[in-house]
Symmetry: C2
Subunit: 248 residues, 2 copies
């Protein structure tokens, strides 16, 4: 039997029913706090509960499915703003019983975005909203665990990648970048040391030569503007303030 013959006779229907979904942990920063995009489920199971945006995978790559779900749920459709969203695979979740309907394996994605508008009312995304991560209560399915994994991934990646630049606008100040670190790590960073450190890492940021039109609300010099550099990893890394040695 040749491979062609084999494929012709192959019956895909003989497998037990099983579905693959993507779920997206979309993070953004608003007012110095990390927010996650959540939807309110209208249908069973978990009707009325909040959940991560997501859905069944169609005839498309997994990444494409994640970006499509994100576009649908934010109501941003084909808005250009979505192009700036950084998207990466987080991990997969497939315990039997995590979905009461059937066996569902979910491939979770992590999205980082500059502050995005509220989902448009009246659209598909009517039930979607940005929620501060420390005010997220119980979630449908195992989504709380997925969110926790996503946050931990984000905290870790800030250390050794220029990920923070995905949370700010195209042009940004060092202070804005510092605010991203402070929000994700949940601790203040020393302004002077942070400033020097960021500029010393090759390729992290590059100067635009411009200066912000206006200083902060409480005064101070007009800060210089930067854009993301071409580095894909930070050397040396920007490590979190020494977690007690107990972190082991």
């Amino acid at each position: 039997m040749t491979e062609a013959e084999f494929l012709a006779r192959y019956d895909p229907g003989e497998f037990p029913p099983l579905a693959v979904t993507v779920d997206v942990v979309a993070l953004t920063i608003r007012a110095g706090r990390v927010h996650v995009l959540l939807v309110e489920r209208g249908a069973h199971p978990f009707a009325g509960w909040r959940a991560l945006p997501g859905g069944f995978v169609r005839d498309e790559p997994l990444d494409a499915a994640a970006r499509r779900e994100l576009a649908e749920e934010t109501g941003l459709g084909d808005d250009r703003a979505l192009d700036r969203v950084h998207l990466e695979q987080l991990r997969s979740y497939g315990d039997p019983g995590r979905d009461p309907r059937m066996r569902v394996v979910s491939v979770a994605y992590l999205a980082f975005a500059p502050s995005l508008p509220d989902p448009r009312a009246g659209s598909d995304a009517a039930g979607a909203s940005w929620v501060p991560v420390d005010e997220v209560g119980e979630l449908a399915f195992d989504h709380a665990a997925i969110l926790a994994d996503g946050l931990e991934r984000a905290r870790a990646k800030l250390e050794y990648t220029p990920l923070a630049t995905a949370f700010v606008a195209e042009e940004f100040t060092i202070a804005e970048l510092r605010a991203v670190y402070a929000a994700v790590w949940g601790e203040e960073l020393h302004p002077g040391n942070f400033h020097r450190k960021v500029l010393s890492v090759p390729g992290f940021v590059e100067s635009t030569g411009e200066t912000a039109a206006r200083a902060g609300e409480r005064g101070g010099p007009k800060p210089k503007l930067y854009r993301a550099g071409d580095a894909r990893s930070l050397h040396p890394a920007l490590l979190r303030p020494t977690r007690e040695d107990g972190v082991r």
Copy 2:
């Protein structure tokens, strides 16, 4: 309609056929070289090609599926040696067309093991063997890409986790640990500095108080023995010798 009624009416059969598999990148070190466990495919598609061990997920958690496949393919069955194998999820691969039969989403796992015996001839695992990673040619499906991702993950995790201890026996010498780093990173490490560094990281290794019965083949003092400590991450990390700054 209550949730119970909804579930009773739910028909899982209405979804397009789609399968979920696990594939395992099992790594070990033999004679100072990283080896990966490969099987020879007997059936279409890719009959006769080498591939990562793996198979369809049954009614079990994904991790269990990976461990089961590994046990079957190594022929180690319920051997205790498998308990010492470190297993973690790598990532998922689901491009349409990656399997010519149907849409298949594969959840890849990464396994690290101390030197394991050759798969038993005559068992299910007859076609399995340990292959040096730099002698792996073409692989079935997208397995070459999965292997590459697994190796990169291993290289990175050696830096900030005690993963290297998963590649050596329960009791080991500092030189054996160094050999793991050298094999995975593909470069020699300074013996003196490595020795001091390993002992200085809290919780990386702990002394057994014993000394090896015998020194190396080419002489030298009898080295002290250590076992893995209780640290789950290394602080400070054991960074790779400065890759040219160009790594960006």
